[in-house]
């Protein structure tokens, strides 16, 4: 083979930061091809695609509103991902946040207590964490794979919410349609940008980013998590059990996903519907990876992904493209990122290796090289 990969003696820090840019660049190139194939002037279409949704203050508000839950969930998931704990159940944990805070909002909303909102946030976060605790328990106690259990519980959570909203939570004045009564004003997040829907959820997400950054980059626990992600043996040597990493990782993800669920009903929805989550739990996985499993990086990747969501809708209006390109671009970007990540640990060489010595290597997660 003319080209081959050679392991770098040291992971390349430069490539850690360059990889997401390469991924975005490659996605843009594919996007240009798709635009051209659809009969548009590619560059103009790209400009339209990117700037179309954010031409005024309302648009910017919508953008940040969309980014808020993605950033929030991704920060929580990152705690687990760094330790090799794969929580793919954020979708269900978000729904549990909706169920717990929704129950409070419906029961105590009319009372109008100023304590209601904080209580909803706490309850939503705890409920999300409790839902995540099930796979954590089954993993640590019975060794059951957390990816599969957390995924199965997404379906269960969805059906539970459906049962509530089609049943006892129906709005008495709503002709038995599957929706709750509108939440009382006391149960809604205050708006922070006039004439938009942007609310204090953004501050909560940014607070989570800060907390995540302190936990992961500035605390001993963060170091231990990283070590666990590298190898179980190393973690035990450092006095940190996989068990603790699983618990910490799962609970952090569940907590933030649950709070994100509160943000949906107390924010853009203002009511409880059977379909409370638009797949943020899955999209946040991409956000976490694209953000290099780093809280600050997640802010940028969250903004990028949310813009992609809005663009998908406007592309229908202005470019006549189907909205499914959002999913297409999302998946593609993650693909390109993972492909580009190889350059963190390897460089491309022309000659074959002189002396092949076989050894399996630890999975090349970017956590290994993350700053």
């Amino acid at each position: 083979m003319p080209l081959r990969l050679e392991r770098r003696p040291q992971p390349s820090t430069a490539m850690v930061y360059a990889a997401p840019l390469i991924a975005v660049g490659a996605t843009v190139i594919v996007a240009l091809v798709i635009f051209a194939a659809a009969g548009h002037a590619p560059l103009d279409a790209l400009v339209m695609f990117v700037t179309g949704p954010v031409q005024d203050r309302y648009g910017v508000g919508e953008w940040l509103l969309k980014a808020t839950p993605l950033i929030l969930i991704a920060v929580g998931l990152t705690v687990g991902f760094r330790a090799g704990v794969w929580n793919v159940g954020a979708e269900g944990q978000l729904i549990l946040g909706v169920i717990a805070s929704g129950w409070l909002a419906l029961k105590f909303g009319p009372g109008g207590s100023p304590l209601l909102l904080p209580a909803m946030i706490v309850a939503g976060g705890l409920a999300g964490a409790a839902w995540a605790a099930i796979p954590a328990l089954l993993r640590t106690r019975f060794n059951a794979n957390e990816i599969l259990v957390s995924l199965m519980f997404n379906y269960v959570a969805q059906l539970w919410l459906s049962w509530l909203v089609f049943g006892m939570w129906r709005d008495p004045a709503g002709f038995n349609f599957p929706q709750s009564e509108p939440l009382a004003p006391a149960a809604l997040y205050p708006i922070i940008l006039e004439d938009t829907r942007l609310n204090i959820g953004l501050w909560i997400a940014l607070a989570a980013v800060l907390a995540g950054w302190v936990l992961l980059s500035r605390s001993y626990i963060g170091f231990q998590l990283k070590v666990t992600g590298l190898s179980d043996a190393a973690a035990r040597y450092a006095g940190f059990s996989t068990r603790r990493a699983v618990w910490l990782g799962m609970l952090a993800g569940g907590l933030t996903a649950g709070i994100a669920g509160v943000g949906e009903i107390a924010g853009p929805l203002g009511q409880i519907f059977p379909t409370a989550s638009p797949g943020y739990g899955y999209a946040a996985i991409i956000v976490a990876f694209l953000g290099r499993l780093h809280p600050i990086g997640i802010v940028f990747s969250g903004l990028l992904l949310s813009l992609l969501y809005l663009s998908g809708d406007t592309a229908q209006m202005s470019l006549g493209l189907p909205s499914s390109i959002t999913g297409l671009f999302q998946g593609m970007m993650l693909f390109f990122l993972l492909a580009a990540d190889v350059l963190i640990f390897y460089r491309i060489r022309r000659r074959p290796a002189a002396a092949p010595a076989a050894a399996p290597v630890a999975s090349a997660t970017i956590a290994e090289a993350a700053p």
């Binding site: 969309k66 059906l159 089609f166 002709f175 038995n176 349609f177 599957p178 379909t275 638009p278 006549g320």
Partner: protein, 368 residues
């Protein structure tokens, strides 16, 4: 806004109306102006099912007005979170008449409509009219009562089957009327109901048909968006009845009869109102008959003429107002009389129906 329109024209997707809209808002609708209509579909527009009939309505609107109307269509807007932004975007880009296509969009429209007075809003399957927001919905039960007659006559086992996606009120009163129609000609008929609890899982719908057939059902109806229920019935050798959709192009042998939804009257009336400046928010709840939203389709040759005649007579009586599918006495599953003998329920009693009539085997989520 100006820049949006320039770029759009550059891209070749803008039409004649955008210049007028971009050069300043006008207080009333000018006669030479093109009416820009916006429609947001929750799912993908396809060849059958709910979204298809929504699309047929604006297609007929376009056909009716020609160049005078321009329609902007968004599909696959599945998330309620996005509705508010997109309806607003339509309203602020010169669309003067905006249609929501499902109940799920109603809450967003109710919130938005009062503040966006330059446009007028209509929501299909919305709960009730509000400021600057009209609603329209079909009396599905008039259709299912008639197809129920066919089912009652054609069943040999006296067991009918219904596959539902989710128990929304429209489906609940539809399946109730289906059994009432069947019992009007065959008092022995019962109806088994299975909920798929998924909007999109045709595989499960097919399994549900198999389960119903195995338990003796020999006429299957339901609330499908795809022909899969009919195809499954055909495979199993039982009859199929199309509810809110004519699937005879796919279900060649098994489909006995069906009814469709025709929203074109709602679209055309609303457009006329906006053009003439007479639009006002109304609630339209219509069934069979001229200008109605429920249309019976051509029945299969397999349906005996005597049954077809019976259905036609009932249809005429419903249109004339002499027959009401839910005319009392109607009992629920527990045997409690819901509508007393001689009474005819009002619209509000029907709209939010959350109980099943006597003879239905199945459950609804309890109100708790």
């Amino acid at each position: 806004m100006q820049s949006t329109f320039t770029r759009r024209r550059f891209l070749g997707t803008a039409a004649a109306g955008s210049l007028a809209a971009a050069t300043g808002f006008r207080p009333a609708f000018a006669q030479d102006e093109v009416l820009k209509v916006g429609v947001i579909h929750m799912g993908a527009i396809s060849d059958t099912g709910w979204e298809y009939f929504q699309a047929e309505a604006w297609r007929k609107l376009k056909a009716n007005y020609g160049d005078k109307v321009e329609v902007t269509v968004l599909e696959n807007i599945a998330q309620i979170q996005d509705c508010e932004r997109l309806f607003r975007q339509l309203a602020t880009t010169g669309h003067k008449l905006i249609f929501g296509t499902t109940f799920s969009q109603y809450a967003s429209l109710k919130k938005l409509a009062p503040s966006l007075g330059k446009a007028h809003f209509e929501c299909c399957a919305g709960i009730e009219a509000g400021p600057n927001l009209g609603v329209f919905e079909a009396k599905h039960f008039e259709g299912t009562y008639l197809t129920g007659i066919a089912a009652g006559r054609m069943t040999k086992s006296n067991v009918l089957g219904w596959v539902g996606a989710f128990p929304v009120p429209q489906v609940v009163y539809s399946l109730n009327a289906f059994l009432l129609g069947a019992r009007s000609v065959n008092p022995e008929a019962t109806l088994k109901v299975v909920w798929a609890n998924a909007w999109v899982d045709p595989g499960k719908e097919k399994d549900a048909v198999a389960a119903l057939v195995a338990q003796g059902a020999d006429v299957i109806s339901g609330s499908p968006n795809t022909p899969v229920q009919g195809l499954a019935a055909e495979e199993k050798g039982v009859w199929s009845i199309g509810s809110t959709g004519d699937f005879s192009a796919y279900v060649k042998k098994a489909q006995l009869c069906s009814f469709e939804l025709d929203w074109s009257a709602a679209h055309i009336e609303a457009a006329e109102g906006v053009i003439n400046g007479t639009w006002a928010p109304t609630s339209r709840w219509r069934g069979l008959g001229p200008g109605g939203f429920v249309k019976m389709t051509t029945a299969s040759p397999e349906l005996p003429e005597s049954v077809a005649a019976e259905m036609a007579a009932a249809e005429a009586a419903i249109i004339a107002g002499t027959l009401h599918p839910f005319a009392g006495p109607v009992k629920d599953q527990s045997g409690t009389v819901r509508f007393a003998a001689g009474a005819t329920p009002g619209d509000d009693e029907l709209k939010g129906m959350n109980w099943l009539v006597e003879g239905v085997q199945g459950t609804l989520p309890s109100a708790g």
